[in-house]
Amino acid sequence: MTRRISKGRQRVEMVKMKNASNLQVTFSKRRAGLFKKASELCTLCGAEIAIVVFSPGDKVFSFGHPNVDTLVERFLGRDLPPPNNDVHNQLIVAHREAGIRELNTKLMNLEEVLQMEKNHGESLQEIRRRANGQWWESPIEELNLFQLQHLKEALERLEQKVEKVAQQQKMVNNLAFPFHTLGSAWTPPTCARESSSYGLNVGAPFANRAIGSTSSVVPNY
């Protein structure tokens, strides 16, 4: 499995792009980046900004703070000069700004966690790559029938073993197993997040570690 490395920062010539699909991708990314920059400028400097862009597919995207329509009307001269700055208005603005601050914080934390998970994913990939695997770790396509049947039975045995160990634990803790609810029963409520629909305990990537479980799931190679 080769690691996909993106091209990185490149100098781009300032002419209309030739490749249509690259153009579409560029539009999506740059439009999002543009709105992000505008959002930051609003927060950092208290500016009021409206941006309107038409997509290659003739759809229109717009960003506006506080909102597109009032700013457009104001610009086109169709309404009264800037709204009053009385106390009531200031309260509304302050409230809105506080909400935005909170959202920004939430977003930043989320992106941090995402980055950590991505890094974790890469280290897992490294481990797999470096591993001197047994024959059963090869892709299934490479196994002959006897190996396949052998592997099948070994897996079935392992599955039984898992079930057995789980039953033992279950008896200690009086829980139903396999789970008929999604996610780990060990996830404390504060860390609980929704799990994927595939039944994996993905709602709490760090929860197990947080509880101090002794699960050493990453093998030492």
């Binding site: 703070h65 800037p82 995402l114 079930e163 595939y198 039944g199 699960s215």
Partner: protein, 245 residues
């Protein structure tokens, strides 16, 4: 390029704020221009600041008016479909980041548990795993089993439909040929699942590893393989189907 990460909050220092505004406004205008040129699309940007009563506009007042006129001409629904303010824009980004996190976490979890599964096949104990781990391990094993079943069926089908009926004959002969050696080892030969049978396991896995160079479909080396004598009281579908959609 800044060296330090800027905190996303209103800059209280007046001169710092003004300086930042000037720089970033310039950068924003540049970005709009680039977007318009690179993608060949119409756009406009209007910036009102506390420093000026009249707004700063890209490309210019006339150009912006043109773009806005076209914008206003569109049906109300089309206008608002992709319209965002700061709040909704950030919410969108949060939603996207959450999705990515969910996906990445699931991938990582699957990878982790696959490693555990491989170790489990060599006989490493499952004692360190809690219920959540066991649950996910079971899921991964189940996924792998499904693929193995599928593959076995495909291979069998391929063997019966292929012109090499000699392969089938070879398989039959091979299973007979390996039967005698099997009797010398009455104990069940597992993939090292029982640590008590360590030496046997080591022999077996080493021996299996010597085959890694010939990992292709075929019955050619059937004479080297042993089909172990497992008990047949297993139940493949331990995990309820409603749990793994």
């Amino acid at each position: 390029m800044t060296r330090k990460k800027v905190k996303l909050a209103f800059i209280t220092n007046d001169s710092a704020r003004k300086a930042t505004f000037k720089k970033r406004k310039k950068g924003l205008m540049k970005k709009v221009s680039e977007l318009s040129t690179l993608c060949g699309i119409e756009a406009c940007a209007i910036i009102y600041s506390p420093y000026d009563t009249s707004p700063e506009v890209w490309p210019n007042t006339m150009g912006a008016q043109r773009v806005l006129a076209e914008f206003k001409r569109m049906p109300e629904m089309e206008q608002s479909k992709k319209m965002v303010n700061q709040e909704s824009f950030i919410r969108q980004r949060i939603a996207k980041a959450s999705e990515q996190l969910k996906k990445q976490s699931k991938e990582n979890r699957e990878k982790e548990m696959t490693e555990v599964m491989y170790q489990g096949l060599t006989g490493k104990g499952l004692q360190n795993l809690n219920l959540g781990d066991l649950n996910d391990l079971g899921w991964v094993i189940d996924q792998n089993l499904k693929e193995v079943y599928k593959r076995i069926e495909a291979v069998k089908k391929g063997a019966s439909t292929s012109s090499s009926s000699s392969a089938a004959a070879a398989a039959a002969a091979a299973s007979q040929a390996v039967a005698p050696p099997m009797e010398q080892k009455p104990a069940v030969v597992e993939l090292g699942l029982d640590p008590m049978q360590r030496t046997q396991t080591e022999w077996f896995t080493d021996w299996m590893n010597s085959n890694t160079s010939d990992q292709h479909i075929g019955y050619g080396h059937a004479d080297e393989m042993i089909l172990p004598n497992f008990n047949d009281n297993h139940n493949a579908n331990v995990w309820p189907n409603n749990f793994y959609p």
